[in-house]
Amino acid sequence: MRAMLLIRAVEKAWGDAYLTEEITGIPPSLSTGQEAIAAGACAALGDGDFIFTTHRGQAAQVARGLDPKRILAELYCRRTGYNKGKSYHVTDMTRGVVGMGGIVPAQVPIAGGMALAQKMRGTDRVSLAFFGDGASNEGAVHEAAALAAMWTLPLILLCENNRYCITQRDTDALKGPSIAARAAGYGLPGVVVDGTDPLAVQAAVAEAVARARAGGGATFIEAQCERLTGHLIHDTQPYRSREELESAWKHCPILLFGERLERERILSADERARMNREIEAEVAGAVAHARTQPYPAIHEAYEDLWA
């Protein structure tokens, strides 16, 4: 729960910074509605594992325990951000988080390569690639899935089906029974899971992790959810009806999980509110931190290209 609330708070801070023109550039892409996937998936991973994120990657970065201060510093283009202001695809190799997403879904074959490295080096680490429903139609996913099957790689292909590829509805672009149904064609296990339920996602990923660690190879998971906000922050989703959006919001994972925790008397509404206040304070602190951080110096434009 905490992870999901923190994700939403960090993203809100980023979105606000853009809307108030504190930061400029490419508009933020929020994962509102998808928080349970990142939270569930990261909860199933161990310390040495790797994740490869998308253009909508903040949820996973936060869920993997990265420091909101340094995430926001990056999004504020500061030199103390994780990537020194070089890109907003936040990366922290010490936590196995590789930020990608400029090219959809180039991270998937690379995650396969990381899995290959782990296998060849004899570790039991797994590599998990996030990608979207739209991305699933790209050849890169196909090739990476086939290779993972062929080489029995410890890879998890985690498709976040948030129903949209920008303005294109998944049902317009995908005519099979599900995206995970494609897994069978590669000889991989394919699983569809409720992406609004962090525990369901965690369970599915945990099973995939266990399979991978045991040398059983890759798993293709499709976590279905709803994209509640626009593709980018300035997208007001005119291509979706009011009814569609209203019903989508009923699938808000924070809402659903909050209700459930209340129902199951694990976390009361009050406790949740308190948790949220703490988180908001933490994020406000992170924003304040980011704002005071220095911008990169000009000469840094020429650094970090060559090893």
């Binding site: 400029t24 550039g25 283009c77 890109s87 790209e138 050849g139 590829c165 990169p296 434009a301």
Partner: protein, 345 residues
């Protein structure tokens, strides 16, 4: 250093600009007119029907329907391939990429298929297609959304490469691209989309089509030739104005097309001025700037009074942070400095 203030991509329209067509509106109008004229013209691209990424296709789906303005999936190999096949089947496709950088995933379909199939089949097929590639930096969009990769495509045979810099050219060159029977890449600098430009009367003439392969002399001068493309044309013109006050007369040449390339206008200009500066946002090493210099060195060697120079991205990715981004893009200030230095020798 890139001077973002030269164009106001946002902000209110100034009174004098009211009747000037915007750059993106000009492309839209060209496509609209050509789609009205020729029922074989159609478009494919991600989100072009419902929410055109940069507003270039806005309104077209309403007029022409979702069959001719086709929302494509995120599958650029299939989409470019579909364009090649459709073109061989007699259609005239236009493909939009959201960012031209993404062409990186579909280059084979362009350079080995679209561009080569006519040659390979001994002239049996033609592949009339237009690919629209938003390019360029300055919007804080990061390394993979800010490039100007035309040097690649101008290098290989069989592809026309167009770089419009004004509303008039955007319209007339787009019309020429659509009517051309070859694969054409149409690069659109994102910083230009919302700019507005005064246009001559023929802008309104639906039969006015650009002749491809003719450079424009944007400003006449006698001391130095500056070759610039896309936004850099305007940076160069601003620099030229500033230098005019100092008594330096700058000629600004806008090649407009890289393939075909107008060697004659270039050579004639350098024969007159004896000095050459080439400015482009492309990566500097092995970029189009080198070709311009090499062409002049070969064809107008005796006319050169001083070493030619070039400006461009000094071969690093365009960084995300605006302060770093502006550092690696050329612009008015660097052009002025380079000209001053070249004139002082």
């Amino acid at each position: 250093m890139f001077d973002n203030r030269l164009f106001r991509p946002g902000g209110p329209v100034k009174p004098e600009e009211k009747d000037w067509p915007s750059f993106r509106g000009a492309i839209n109008e060209a496509m609209r007119e050509e789609m009205r004229r020729d029922p074989l013209v159609f478009q494919m691209g991600e989100d072009i029907a419902l929410a055109s990424p940069f507003g270039v296709t806005t309104g077209l789906a309403k007029e022409f329907g979702r069959e001719r303005i086709r929302d494509a999936p995120c599958a650029e190999v299939a989409v470019v391939g579909a364009a090649v096949g459709a073109a061989m089947g007699g259609m005239r496709p236009i493909v939009e990429f959201q960012f031209g950088d993404f062409m990186s995933v579909a280059i084979d379909q362009l350079t080995h298929q679209a561009a080569m199939l006519r040659y390979l089949t001994g002239g049996q097929v033609s592949v009339p297609l237009v690919i629209r590639l938003p390019c360029g930096g300055g919007q804080g969009a990061g390394s993979q959304h800010s490039q100007s990769l035309y040097s690649w495509f101008a290098h290989v045979p069989g592809i026309k490469v167009l770089l419009p810099s004004t509303s008039m050219d955007a319209k007339a060159m787009m019309k020429a691209a659509i009517r051309d029977n070859n694969p054409v890449l149409f690069f659109e600098h994102k910083q230009l989309y919302r700019t507005r430009w005064p246009v001559p009367a023929e802008f309104r003439d639906a039969d006015h089509v650009a002749e491809l392969g003719k450079a424009a002399v944007r400003r006449a001068g006698v001391d130095i030739t500056v070759v610039a493309t896309l936004t850099m044309v305007h940076h160069a013109l601003a620099a030229a104005e500033a230098l005019a006050a100092e008594g330096v007369s700058v000629e600004v040449i806008d090649p407009r097309t890289l393939v075909p390339f107008d060697v004659d206008t270039l050579v004639a200009s350098v024969r007159k001025t004896g000095r050459l500066l080439v400015v482009d946002e492309a990566y500097l090493n092995f970029g189009i700037q080198a070709e311009v210099i090499a062409t002049v060195a070969e064809r107008a060697f005796e006319a050169l009074k001083a070493a030619p120079r070039r400006l461009g991205n000094p071969n690093v990715p365009v960084p995300f942070a605006p302060c770093l981004q502006d550092e690696v893009l050329p612009g008015r200030a660097r052009i002025e400095a380079a000209i001053r230095q070249m004139m002082s020798r």
